[in-house]
């Protein structure tokens, strides 16, 4: 039945891909079973691609230009922005507030993503392979819950937890009057982001650990390998790809996360002002759009580097 269809449709669907005398079904190699044809296919894809072009690609490209102007939210520079070349970049790189923010961002990524989420996520995933099913279900439920609760709510939960006069943490630790968000703003947002994001690493490592052949672990145990030896000799070599994937993705996300703004708003005195919060304050509160755009571009370029490394890894894995 199928060959009959393809022979009647060969001219319509295979658009230039004529079956060279063989009995090959034209539909099989180009997959256009509904007879869409290229023009109509482009038409189908157009609305989505136009939307992406206007509201995602254009802003990113526009950043290139905006970053080289003295655009402001109000005043004369708002109506007639001037081209000032790379001044914004020079200003940014010599601005102590930018350097402070960049340093805090690195600390934030290192502490909450690389150390917090990765290590804790792996530890939980690994431990959950050796506990009763119900324990596993309960632990995973709560880790996931922290991830799913909308950020406006989860940040309020932490504001309540860390409150100076009536917070649960001060009650538990018997440290009355400690204003965690004021005295330890960076530590607070790092711990918060670890809490909110560990679920991803846990899920990823859980599925990675499930792919380690049990027979290899079994034989490692037979020759008397302890837990640590099992980890370094059997498990790590097996899940190296997953570790890299996890590291790159959570680095990218943590670098771009705006949620700490809801906890500390960058304060006190810019002590927790990571880059996203810094850009927000500079561009949208102080109105220095050109400066803000320049720093946005720096962020996009850092994102690009991380993403390219990640995509390269994906490609290598496929081959």
């Amino acid at each position: 039945m199928a060959p009959a269809i393809s022979s009647t449709d060969a001219s319509a669907s295979a658009a230039g891909r004529a079956p060279s005398g063989s009995a090959r079904r034209p539909t099989a190699d180009d997959g256009d079973v509904a007879g869409l044809g290229k023009p109509r296919a482009v038409l189908f894809a157009a609305p989505a691609l136009i939307l992406i072009a206007i509201f995602l690609v254009f802003p990113a490209l526009w950043t290139l230009y905006l970053g080289m102007t003295n655009f402001r939210l109000t005043g004369t520079a708002a109506a007639h922005p001037q081209f000032i070349g790379i001044d914004n970049y020079v200003n940014a790189l010599t601005d102590p507030r930018f350097l402070n923010s960049l340093g805090l961002t690195l600390l934030f990524v290192l502490g909450s993503a690389l150390i917090g989420q990765s290590l804790l996520g792996f530890a939980i995933a690994w431990l959950m392979t050796r506990v009763p099913k119900t324990v596993r279900a309960v632990v995973e439920f709560f880790v996931l819950l922290a991830w799913i609760i909308p950020s406006s709510v989860s940040t309020f939960l932490w504001i309540a937890l860390l409150d100076r006069s009536d917070g649960t943490l001060n009650l538990l630790l018997n440290t009355p009057g400690t204003g965690w968000l004021l005295q330890y703003p960076m530590q607070s947002i790092i711990v918060f982001n670890t809490w909110a994001g560990t679920a991803f690493s846990m899920l990823l490592f859980s599925s990675a650990l499930a792919s380690v052949p049990p027979s290899q672990l079994e034989s490692a145990r037979m020759v008397g390998a302890g837990a640590w030896a099992q980890l370094t000799d059997v498990i790590f070599p097996h899940i190296r790809g997953h570790i890299l994937t996890n590291t790159l993705l959570i680095t990218l996300w943590t670098f771009n996360v705006f949620t700490p703004y809801l906890l500390t708003a960058g304060g006190p005195d810019s002590r927790s002002e990571i880059l996203p919060v810094f850009i927000y304050r500079l561009a949208l509160r102080d109105g220095l759009l050109g400066q803000g755009a320049a720093i946005s571009l720096i962020m996009i370029i850092i994102n690009l580097v991380i993403a390219l490394v990640y995509l390269r890894l994906l490609k290598e894995k496929k081959q």
Binding site: L56, A123, L249
Partner: protein, 288 residues
Amino acid sequence: MSPTTHARSDHAIGTLAVKSFLALTAKTLFIALVLAFFAIPVLWLVFAPFDKHPRLSVKLPEFTLDNFAALFSNPNALASLGNSVVLALGTMVLVLVFGSLASYSLSRVKIPGREILLYALLLLSSIITGTAAMVPTFLLMVKLQLIDSELGVILVMGAGIMPTVIFILKDFMDSTPKSYEESARIYGAKPLRILWDVVIPLARPGLATIAVWAIVQVWGNFLVPYILLRSPGKSPAAVVMYTFYTEGGQPNLALISAFSLVFSLPVVAMYFFVNRRYGFRFHGGIKS
């Protein structure tokens, strides 16, 4: 064997027992700490909404439903939840319609440059984030006079998640059997008809996953509506929640607690429902 070796192996068994006891204790302690770390912050959300006198610290509630009564008689809170529904459903419809059209055509037809396009889409979605592009996006919306417009928020959020949507949906479309489309075509069905009557029903699990994922993304998003909407009457719950506890005075904990719960429950329920029903697969991270 000599008595000495016997004694030694006894000793070895002893240390082994101690070791495994220590390991078990460490394991239990670690699990307890992990549970405490993840569960304690959430306890407030479980207890405070039902407490007659909610405080910031966690305590067992003196049971009441008054807080919900306070919530349902607060027009601001209700309106903001309604706004969240509008934004979430609007974005969902937008990405489902545009996304399935695009992913279907990309799945079935080899448009020149398709591989590069897909690669570029994947790259774009991961590097042009809401935070990195907030300045140009804000300016663009000012120029287009879409500031303080719910349509503007829907367009920006839709464009932001569209690449991921196309990517995941194309995956689903690739794996749906093509023979039904062939038969539909023999009977003279047009491509749009085939898409609607044949492909969409087959790809339903994928569409459901995407629909829920889109809703969850928009429902919890704070930054985009925070920047693009001006009038409090248009703000979604994520933004109004923030103003409830930052705008001066003593925060009204009765209202905030009930509001937090009502605001969180839909996404938590949807997540676990879809997870149980279809299971989230790893497409480079389904949440962010």
